[in-house]
């Protein structure tokens, strides 16, 4: 194949910093805007979409057993707004958890029997039981957690990070999203492109979906009949012709375009390399569990997350759907936990063993929690729980977060927070802090206003920092 020598010469001699331009376009905003030394370089966000039940998983309330089936006291329920799904309910019977809890690890954290593997890594986790949000429905609540605002239009967390920190990787995007489907019988609630969108930030900061079927990244594969050498030949001709234009017209955009086409070519090998599990050991698959070889499963996505962490992807977002247990909570919650427990714990161990956990912040949780009272009738073996934003649990690991602690407390009914509340904005302020970003200074001017992920709120939660 005739490789035009002047392409190489051009790329080397143009002095236009093509490499850095290409990086900029993949989400690199130039120099990182860190305000202080970061503890974490990247984030793996295990988003449990639908709202997992905190009081069946982490927030142990043994005292509820004696109230089981009785009305939730009005003094506890207070004036809070309920969703339209239970606000008309005549009775609000307390439903104690049906699952056994035990203390685990040196930290003695309470974990439900539904999460045996997670229980094995509690000493690496910071379990925050005092999360709260004003949103009471999925769409606004997820949008709130991911963009700092309940209505659409703002950039997502990963887009802010891409904007603020740029990309570590030379040939992978800064912000990657993966979605897996839960095993629960109940239909999964919808997701939206805005959850990984760039809002008013430049669109190169939007998350790139990594898909389990078809091309892992949209349009990654060359069409049939075009092999790698033909593609190279095409790109060489394109680069030479574009180079000629650049020499005449001096438009820096032309140089950027040349670099983009080169990076596209590199992605055509770097992405398949990322998704090829061929080099993973048998013991790794065993650790991540029986579904870790099944593309698109949460387990496979966790393994991919580790591989992306190794390759410098800045923000790795997993969505696992199906946590909306309005009905059939006992059976569906068990299934959902079965999907995520082992892979999530394996991810923590794997990162730790490879020395990546210190610089990787892992987060697990959903957009809100669930009510202590039963949605619908409380049956001997079955019940459901409605959305509950007044308290819910998330855990974090690595990235300079203090391991082996439980933070915040809720009342005996797991209904209201009694100590150390952590608001959505506080969580986001804290995450940014660990990445070396002051949430008050990571701003973007849009419509005349300096916007922030945390709007005009948010306090770093010092109590959970290592």
């Amino acid at each position: 194949m005739n490789d035009f020598p002047d392409r190489r010469q051009f790329l080397q001699s143009s002095g236009l910093g093509l490499g850095s331009m290409a990086l900029a376009a993949l989400g690199h905003g130039g120099d990182a805007m860190t305000n202080f030394a970061p503890k974490a370089k990247r984030v793996i966000y295990l988003f449990m979409h639908g709202g997992p039940s905190q009081l069946d998983l982490f927030d142990h309330k043994p005292g509820l057993a004696k109230h089981h089936g009785q009305e939730l006291p009005a003094s506890v329920r207070g004036e809070q707004r309920l969703t339209g799904m239970t606000s008309g309910q005549a009775s609000f019977p307390v439903a104690a958890s049906r699952f056994a809890f035990a203390r685990h690890g040196r930290s003695g954290a309470w974990v439900s029997e539904l999460l045996p593997h997670t229980a094995g890594v509690v000493d690496d986790l910071c379990i925050v039981r005092s999360m709260h949000t004003e949103a009471i429905n999925h769409d606004p609540a997820v949008t709130y957690l991911q963009t700092g605002h309940q209505q659409p239009g703002r950039p997502s967390f990963g887009a802010w990070l891409s904007y603020g920190l740029g990309c570590e990787s030379r040939d992978l995007p800064a912000f990657v999203v993966m979605v897996s489907r839960g095993s629960a019988a109940r239909p999964a609630d919808p997701l939206y492109a805005r959850l990984w969108g760039s809002g008013f930030l430049p669109s190169n900061h939007q998350g790139v979906s990594l898909r389990s079927g078809g091309d892992p990244v949209l349009y990654l594969s060359s069409p049939p009949g075009i092999n790698r050498s033909t593609r190279r030949d095409q790109l060489d001709v394109i680069a030479a012709l574009n180079g000629g234009q650049l020499a005449q017209r001096h438009d820096p955009e032309i140089a950027t375009r040349i670099a983009q086409y080169e990076m596209a070519f590199r992605m055509q090998s770097s992405v398949p390399d990322l998704t090829d599990f061929g080099g993973e050991s048998e013991s790794t698959f065993e650790a991540y569990g029986p579904r870790s070889r099944e593309p698109g499963s949460f387990a496979a996505n966790c393994l991919l997350a580790r591989r992306m962490a190794e390759r410098g992807v800045r923000f790795i977002q997993l969505y696992h759907r199906g946590w909306d247990q309005h009905y059939n909570l006992p059976s569906d919650l068990r299934l959902q936990c079965g999907d995520v427990d082992q892979p999530a714990a394996a991810l923590i161990r794997d990162l730790k063993q490879r020395g990546l956990l210190e610089e990787t912040l892992v987060i697990w949780g959903g957009e809100f929690g669930r009510t202590t009272y039963s949605q619908g009738k409380l049956e001997p073996t079955n019940h459901g729980r409605d959305h509950h934003g007044r308290c819910f649990t998330m855990w974090m690991a690595g990235g300079g977060i203090r391991p082996g602690i439980q933070y915040g407390e809720t009342d005996d009914f797991c209904y209201n927070i009694t100590r150390d509340p952590v608001h959505v904005h506080d969580l986001n302020a804290t995450l940014l802090n660990q990445l070396g970003l002051d949430h008050e200074r990571l701003t973007y001017r849009f419509q005349g206003r300096d916007h922030r992920l945390t709007d005009v709120h948010g306090k770093v939660v010092r109590g959970i920092l290592a």
């Binding site: 769409d139 979605v179 629960a184 019988a185 349009y219 075009i226 030949d233």
Partner: protein, 1031 residues
């Protein structure tokens, strides 16, 4: 890079010493950025009672001091504070993370010393006529625009660029006015026209093109947040395309912009409003609408009204009204009370916050004249058919009653010898146990049926059932959910051995499993059963371990199966019980089940038909007539007619059924559109504390922000009045904002580079006098949109060459703020795709109509939609090749071609698109079916035309780039062509594979290796930077 650019732009202009400091240009940006958020217009956030945004506030005595004492720096507290290094005193305070540079302090110093003169913000002062500025080079200007631009360049001792080549100009202006590249005919006509007026002739022709309105509409659709779905949660489809077509038509007809404004904001309130005027009001129904159950309706209804205020203000005035929803605007003169004054105009729509229809009312049904005629005919026919059939029904009644007395003796019975029968009539079959909640029992096909809600199932060990077959199972189902498992005998884990019947959106899936995904039969019915009614589902298996041994019947009719896996090589026996209402611990079932029967062996067609019929009709006959549902009466009559009806009766029934189906089809075909309407009694509007829907405070009437423009005398206090206010001669913003949008349409950037903010925090215009000059001309011309565009594209400014110039310091004026070169920039998402289709000869030029679905990679909708229920099915035929503004936009998962190229998600009003350059764009342009197909068709068109290889290469180039290729450029293409010919000569299968991309049919029997080689070359031309860019 983007960030850095913004930072530079927001630096104040550094005034050279000795120059007068301008409040608007130099001082206000400093105060606005650093001081106004605490010392501005919003009393709620004001610190120390001090406001610096007015002369009165800044000079007033406040706790014994004055922030500013004009002319006396030392006495001015402001100066003390901004120069202090004491943490308690210094301003801005450390925690604001804001600091003033020495240059900024110097500007403030000089301003205070010179008397601290305040000026009103430029955009709130109505434009005034200014004489054309004096210029040196009198031969350059072609119209007024050029005087302003040249004056500015000359002030900087610069020269404008020379004029672009004719080819470049042709491509540029055609792209700008129609969004499409010039056709070869257009190109020839222009390039061969040697007259003085050739360019003007071209411009006039383009302005008359029906594609003009399509292209101009796109930016308007962005602002109006136009899309084809409701956006929140379920994101179901809605019909708004009639409004989109209204916009295209209005732009093509050059509707004056004041009319365009009034009809969209208040067309319904015009006297004798026409259908078109009511469609126009769809502008303010394009906002998202929520169907998430459990949502608080008022919270979202308020959100819709807020969205209308924000969108209307952003689109027409360039102001950020949204800031004053929660508190008084910190920078611009819009109080929170005034925000709700605007809110009151849009608060009277008879609508619900939590929508219950995919097309939420108020909607307008808009039949075409043909549809109206057809519907009238259909209704008349239906009336006649109904009357005729009613007579027959009446005549039949005694016979039917008589027949029922004996019917049980003659109606067929279900096949005997069932090894299992569950009738759900109170008492379960032997050894059947209930797990979970008791189901609700209600009237079924025979006796009672069980209603499942996925919280229960029945189990029976049934050792006598051998799933390895042969066997037949039949059951009645009335599903109430999109996914469920009514019957199974399968392991929950491990091999998942066994059998299961799954219903998904009416389609029946059957899995017979030895080892999951390794040894199994998996089939699904091609057809769906239909919902909302009872259906008899029969499945039989002959024990052959082959998919063809499985058969499925819906209501006695065999249905065809799609085979998904057919490699069962072992037993499907297991130790699991037969389960009704659940697969394993996971998948449950929602809906009713009745009369489950299981047999050994297979049945013939007639046996299956009789079985279902027998059970259904026996069930009805066994029910006292007064307890039968209307549907059951209908089924009984139908069955009787099927078996005993005379030809005349059958004919009457058929006639009625045809008429009913015809009416339904017609009604569904009549398009609708969401529109604005006023409630008879307006809703009261209250200021909402912090903007929160359930925190009403004082009541407000509709009114506008007083500081912007006076309310026109005699204007009604409703949306019509609001629209009249916007286009009134005293309004300082509307014309400027509209002109700025049209300028940006041609130049990529507006004269105001923050089109989303004309307020205090926005950028001042690069050419203020030019903006005002154009705004006045626009209004005085009768708001003539095409006229203004013509003036812009006829100018010498627009016609300049767009090449950048290099200086020792790098590229000169990279953002072209001085307009010393012509416009250039990457084509938009829509233009890129449309260009490929156009040059390939694929573009279907139809204007308007329902949105279309071109190629899209599979799985994008399933990945995010509720329960993975929504699937994207690409159109066949024309829908694949329509202009991109007609592509269906699902807000939850917008088309990747939009997202990849800076298209908005259309969730909120967007008045400016970004223009990024990413490797994902390169991947799409190189690999997307749309563009690969276009390369093939382009290559074919070129090869079909007369000429030899050399001529063909030249044509390929000029078809896309308009200009002729250079010798070197042709040599590059030729080298590639030769190398690809060599490759495909030895790899014919590769050529065939490449040519198989896309549905477009090419010529029969082409020389495949040759066409494939040319396709490779055409791809290169379609991916050149010059192709992707307007220059």
């Amino acid at each position: 890079m983007f960030r850095i650019a913004i930072a530079l732009l927001s630096l104040p202009t550094i005034t050279a010493l000795g120059e007068v400091v301008s409040f608007n240009k130099d001082v206000r940006p400093i105060l606005s950025d650093n001081c106004f958020s605490c010392h501005g217009a919003d009393p709620g956030s004001r610190k120390a009672g001090l406001r610096l945004d007015t002369y009165e506030g800044a000079t007033a005595e406040n706790e014994g001091a004055r922030a500013i004492v004009p002319g006396e720096l030392a006495k001015s507290e402001l100066w003390t504070r901004i120069t202090s290094e004491d943490g308690d005193e210094m301003m801005p305070p450390a925690k604001s993370h804001k600091t003033l540079s020495p240059e900024q302090k110097e500007i403030l110093k000089r301003w205070v010393e010179s008397g601290a003169i305040y000026e009103p913000h430029w955009s709130f002062v109505p434009p005034v006529a200014i004489p054309l500025p004096e210029i040196g080079r009198a031969d350059w200007p072609r119209n007024g625009i050029d005087h302003f631009v040249l004056a500015r360049l000359e002030a900087e001792s610069l020269e404008p660029s020379s004029e672009a080549s004719r080819e470049a100009l042709l491509r540029r202006v055609t792209l700008d006015l129609t969004g499409l590249p010039p056709t070869p005919e257009d190109a020839r006509a222009f390039l061969e026209d040697g007259s003085e007026t050739a360019y003007e002739t071209l411009v006039d022709r383009l302005l008359q093109s029906p594609h003009f309105g399509e292209h101009l509409a796109v930016g308007w659709l962005d602002a109006a947040r136009y899309a084809d779905t409701n956006g929140y949660f379920g994101d179901k489809p809605r019909q708004m395309w009639l409004w989109r077509d209204w916009v295209i038509d209005a732009l093509n007809a050059n509707m004056p912009f004041d009319r365009f404004t009034i009809e969209q904001l208040a067309g319904d309130l015009l006297p004798g409003a026409t259908v078109a005027q009511r469609i126009a009001t769809g502008f303010n129904r394009n906002h998202m609408a929520n169907n998430e159950s459990g949502s608080i309706a008022e919270e979202f209804r308020v959100e819709y009204v807020v969205d209308r205020v924000d969108t209307t203000m952003a689109t027409w005035t360039g102001l950020t009204a949204a800031c004053s929803q929660c508190h008084d605007h910190k920078f611009d003169p819009i109080s929170q009370r005034e925000f709700f004054g605007l809110f009151a105009f849009f608060n009277n729509v008879p609508e619900q916050g939590l929508i219950t229809a995919d097309n939420p009312p108020p909607i307008l049904s808009v039949p075409s004249a043909d549809q109206e005629t057809a519907l009238a005919g259909c209704l008349a026919e239906k009336k006649t058919a109904e009357a005729a059939f009613a007579k027959i029904r009446e005549d039949l009644a005694p016979r039917l009653a008589e027949w029922q007395k004996e019917a049980l003796k003659t109606l067929p019975l279900p096949p005997s010898k069932a090894i299992f029968h569950e009738a759900f009539d109170g008492k379960s079959a032997d050894k059947t146990t209930l797990i979970g909640n008791a189901p609700v029992y209600e009237k079924g096909v025979q006796g009672e049926a069980a209603a499942f809600d996925a919280t229960q199932h029945f189990e029976n060990p049934l050792p006598e059932f051998d799933p390895d077959g042969p066997w037949t199972v039949g059951l009645w189902v009335k599903p109430d959910g999109s996914l469920g498992c009514p019957l199974s005998k399968i392991e929950a884990e491990g091999d998942r051995r066994g059998l299961e019947i799954i219903l998904q959106k009416g389609r029946v899936q059957l899995n017979l499993v030895n080892r999951w995904s390794e040894s199994a039969i998996e089939v699904a019915t091609v057809e769906a059963m239909g919902s909302g009614d009872w259906h008899h589902l029969v499945v039989s298996y002959d024990g052959s371990s082959r998919a063809k041994g499985l058969r499925v019947w819906f209501d006695g009719a065999p249905t065809s199966l799609e085979v998904r896996r057919d490699n069962l090589t072992g037993t499907i026996r297991n130790l699991e019980p037969l389960r009704l209402g659940r697969r394993d611990s996971g998948l449950g079932y929602y809906g009713l089940i009745d009369e489950v029967r299981l047999f050994r062996g297979a049945l013939n067609e007639e046996g299956v038909r009789d079985w279902g019929r027998g059970e259904r009709i026996r069930g009805i006959v066994g029910t006292p007539p007064e307890k039968r549902s209307a549907r059951e009466h209908e089924i009984l009559l139908d069955d009787y007619l099927d078996h005993y009806g005379e030809a005349s009766a059958l004919e009457a029934r058929e006639r009625l059924s045809v008429a009913t189906a015809g009416e339904k089809a017609l009604r569904e075909a009549i398009p609708t559109v969401l529109v604005m309407e006023e409630m008879k009694t307006p809703r009261a509007t209250f200021v909402l504390e912090r903007g929160v829907y359930d925190q009403p405070r004082e009541e407000v009437k509709p009114h506008v922000p007083a500081a912007i423009a006076p309310w026109p005398e005699d204007a009604p206090a409703n949306r019509l009045g609001l629209a009249q206010w916007l286009v009134s001669p005293h309004h300082p913003l509307t014309a400027r904002v509209a002109v700025n949008r049209l300028w940006a349409h041609c130049f990529g950037e507006g004269l105001v580079r923050t089109p989303e903010d004309f307020g205090l925090q926005g950028e001042a215009p690069t050419h203020p006098a030019l903006l005002d000059y154009l705004a006045l001309r626009f209004r005085e011309s009768g708001w003539d949109v095409k006229g203004l565009l013509k003036e812009i594209v006829m100018s010498s400014t627009y016609r300049q060459d767009s090449a950048f110039t290099m200086t020792d310091a790098g590229v000169h004026d990279p953002a072209n703020r001085l307009l010393g070169r012509g416009p250039s920039g990457r084509l938009t998402a829509e233009m890129l795709r449309d260009q490929s289709l156009a040059v390939a000869g694929l573009l279907v030029p139809t204007i308007g109509g329902p949105s279309v679905k071109p190629y899209q990679p599979p799985g994008l909708w399933e990945a995010v939609s509720y329960n993975a229920e929504d699937s994207y099915t690409a159109d066949t035929g024309d829908g694949l090749w329509r202009r991109s503004l007609y592509t269906f936009i699902k807000r939850q998962a917008p088309p990747p071609s939009m997202l990849n190229f800076d298209g908005p998600t259309r969730e909120k009003c967007t008045v400016r698109r970004g223009r990024t350059s990413t490797p994902l764009q390169a991947l799409q342009l190189l690999n997307d079916e749309t563009h690969v197909e276009a390369a093939r068709m382009l290559a074919e068109t070129i090869l079909r035309s007369p000429g030899d290889e050399k001529i063909h290469l030249a044509k390929l180039w000029s078809r896309v780039l308009v200009r002729a290729a250079t010798t070197e450029e042709l040599a590059r293409l030729h080298g590639l062509l030769q190398r690809q010919r060599e490759r495909f000569a030895t790899a014919p299968a590769e050529a065939i594979a490449l040519l198989s991309v896309g549905a477009a049919k090419g010529v029969a029997n082409p020389d495949q290796a040759e066409l494939a080689s040319w396709t490779i070359v055409a791809q290169v031309v379609l991916n050149l930077d010059e192709t992707l860019t307007k220059r």
